[in-house]
Amino acid sequence: MTLKRFRNLLLSCTILVAGAAGLAQAASTVPTTLTNAAATVIATSQSVLHDGDFAGNVYDAYYGVVQVVASIRNGQLADVKAVKFPNHSGESRSINRQALPMLQQEVVQTQNARVRIISGATLTSRAYIASLRDALVLAGN
């Protein structure tokens, strides 16, 4: 499980780099350190992680600046937040669509709050299928 989470952290870095790739032709100061950041993250993932929130550097993407904060809990990556977002004027929106904007990611966590209504891909749930399977086994005996 831990491994999968790190793989996904890598993925989010890939998105950052992808966002910066479009920058190469537009700006002279290409944030090459982005790839260094990804490398650092990989290196860190192979050693012991300390709990806390860790902010990355601010990087200039042509649709705005991006900075992420990684939250480590119990030695595992629990959350990655983008703390600075690109502006969302209509124009940057259409540009973003081409450039894959950095979107906030997090590890899903079970919530304990009480809710009134539930939205979900519903009904033909595992319970339903399991029950049907039981019934078919019984029917087959």
Partner: protein, 240 residues
């Protein structure tokens, strides 16, 4: 409707008649649009038993909306199966809820929600005076909630892999296994838009959340098979 449970909660001035009218409406929609009812208009249309002139106004409305969505999503959303069968499930549920909510609102009711098969339109405030709290179900365990959002004047729809078996597929590549993204929840003012965009985005796999990010007034929360969620920039304003 479509074999799904339906819930209606009306806070102010409820009348039994209104509730019955809404349930009758969902039953009517099922009779017309269900791919599982052989005599439904949608089945007769698939088989070529109905000419264009004979189509009901409701069918026309759904077909127009489906075609608009197909174009908006660059073909990811398509109610026409490779077999030639027409399956409007990815849009009819939201459309029916939206109509039901408009009927209720037209009766002067301001605080209520309508839910059918996990898609919701919520207006006004709940009985305790707050926005309606809606839990997004975990795609990994149907007893768990992975996010709580507060809705008042919005609809939410969720598309996922174990909704009703495999009813979602990518029409551009019918054999592609849609296993990367397991759940996409979309919040927008009208639940019919939430439903059709959730269906389209789910069919797009990892590109889906960027498609949703590009749509004005649309916020979303997508979960992948590893339990990593990606959200659109404005989604946080709904999170409790």
């Amino acid at each position: 409707m479509m074999g799904m449970p339906i819930t209606i909660e009306i806070v102010d001035a409820p009348t039994a008649d209104l509730g019955q009218e809404i349930f009758d409406w969902f039953n009517h929609v099922d009779q017309r649009f269900s791919p599982y009812i052989e005599t439904s208009e949608v089945c007769r249309l698939s088989k070529g038993d109905v000419s264009d002139d004979e189509l009901s106004d409701e069918m026309r409305e759904v077909l127009v909306l489906a075609e608009a969505t197909r174009l908006e999503s660059d073909g990811a959303f398509n109610i026409r199966r490779p077999s030639g069968f027409i399956d409007p499930s990815g849009i009819v549920k939201g459309w029916a809820i939206s109509k039901a909510a408009k009927t209720i609102a037209a009766c002067g009711v301001t605080s209520f929600y309508v839910e059918a098969g996990g898609d919701i339109q919520a207006h006004g405030l709940d009985g305790a005076g707050g926005a309606w709290s809606v839990g997004i179900r975990s795609p990994f365990n149907d007893k768990d909630i992975i996010k709580v959002v507060a809705l008042s004047g919005q609809g939410i729809a969720t598309s996922g892999t174990y909704v009703r078996g495999d009813h979602i597929y990518d029409p551009r590549d019918p054999d592609r296994k849609l296993d990367e993204i397991v759940s996409v929840s979309v919040i927008v003012d009208d639940v019919v838009d939430a439903d059709r965009f959730a269906t389209a985005a789910f069919a797009m796999g990892r590109d889906g959340i960027y498609f949703l990010e590009s749509l004005p007034g649309v916020e979303a929360y997508a979960v992948d098979a590893h339990g990593i969620a990606t959200q659109t920039t404005g989604f946080g304003k709904f999170v409790r």
